[in-house]
Assembly symmetry: C2
Homo-oligomer: 211 residues x 2
């Protein structure tokens, strides 16, 4: 419990920094391989000509994801957690100092791929966005409820694969709403671009709120 209350102090400091600088910060969470980085590279390419974008990447090892983000044109900081299973607010606070964000920026935090532990750690973000790919099965909101309860938005990704998998979209949305009645849901494919406009609209609305 001590860890969480200490984390919350750092989270509050981050949140204050974001609010003073009009920064929209989003915490992207999912299972490993749901498509967080693929979605972020497509998002950076779509936003960069209007909004400063920066990304904090969290992984046990490697800088593979930060490299992919940099290639798409945004600045990125890679945090390696080693045996750690989630990012915490202290790590994010340091990364934010390194990034020297411009006023009105969008800051995406790609958490460690893990549907359990990151649900409990506030990073100071405006919202958690949970990404569920249709290849993982429709039952995930019921089986890993804490994460879907903590998220404001669920993105159903890889909808281009729906013809090849046994995934009941309506049932999955129903399960997510049972766990979190107010959750918003966007269906998209990070590789074909289908649904990206809705996601970009959601981001722009939240950028307005953050200013």
């Amino acid at each position: 419990q001590d860890i969480l209350s200490k984390n919350n102090q750092y989270a509050d400091a981050n949140r204050r920094y974001f609010s003073e600088h009009g920064i929209l910060s989003l915490n992207l969470v999912s299972s490993p391989g749901s498509g967080k980085t693929t979605l972020l590279t497509a998002t950076v390419l779509a936003l960069l000509d209007q909004t400063p974008v920066a990304v904090i990447e969290g992984d046990q090892q490697t800088a593979l994801d930060a490299d992919r983000i940099r290639k798409s044109g945004a600045r990125a900081v890679q945090i390696n957690t080693g045996k750690g299973c989630h990012l915490d607010a202290h790590m994010v606070g340091h990364a934010v100092q390194d990034l020297k964000l411009q006023h009105g920026s969008a800051l995406f935090i790609e958490n460690v791929g893990n549907l359990v532990c990151p649900a409990a750690f506030d990073l100071g973000e405006a919202a958690k966005v949970v990404i569920l790919s249709v290849t993982e099965g429709a039952d995930k909101p019921l089986k890993y409820p804490d994460m879907f309860h903590a998220a404001s938005l669920m993105i159903l990704n890889k909808i281009d694969l729906l013809p090849y998998v046994d995934f009941d979209v309506a049932a999955c949305c129903d399960y997510a709403r049972r766990i979190n009645p107010g959750i918003r849901i966007i269906q998209l494919s990070a590789t074909t671009g289908e649904g990206m406009e809705t996601w970009l609209g959601w981001i722009r609305a939240h950028l307005e709120i953050a200013k």
Copy 2:
């Protein structure tokens, strides 16, 4: 550290029980939705006429997976971990008492879907089997190395989807061997049955060793 040393005492007790009763125990780990339960139901159906099979299921919430296993004909115990992100040896020890396993049984432990935390917890199993689905990306062994280092076998699942995803099988196998030079690798599809014979052969060989 205290948690791990206490866990190791319970793991040793479990391992002793398994060895005295000629039980093969396997700890199946993966990201959420990689296909552990689908693979297990197919495995149970293939083994049941020759070998007693039992399954311990680990999930944050629900008994959905244990129900699926029971429908395939094996006995199953469901453990709900709540906010917990992994099974531990103490939980498994209790479940084993409930199951009253026959001599020469195969015991499959399906861990909580999480590529990070379960790597550190010995349950007393003979081996960890990591399942990676081809929809998750080939870089997972490099990005989540602890789990691939702890596993004796990697199963590349959902190979029926290879025509629809960007997944380099050779690169993925190379990455896994960089992290764990001795890891065995089996490619299969839990839904079409391709590769199941190799997996069943691997199990039968380990059943012989356990007797």
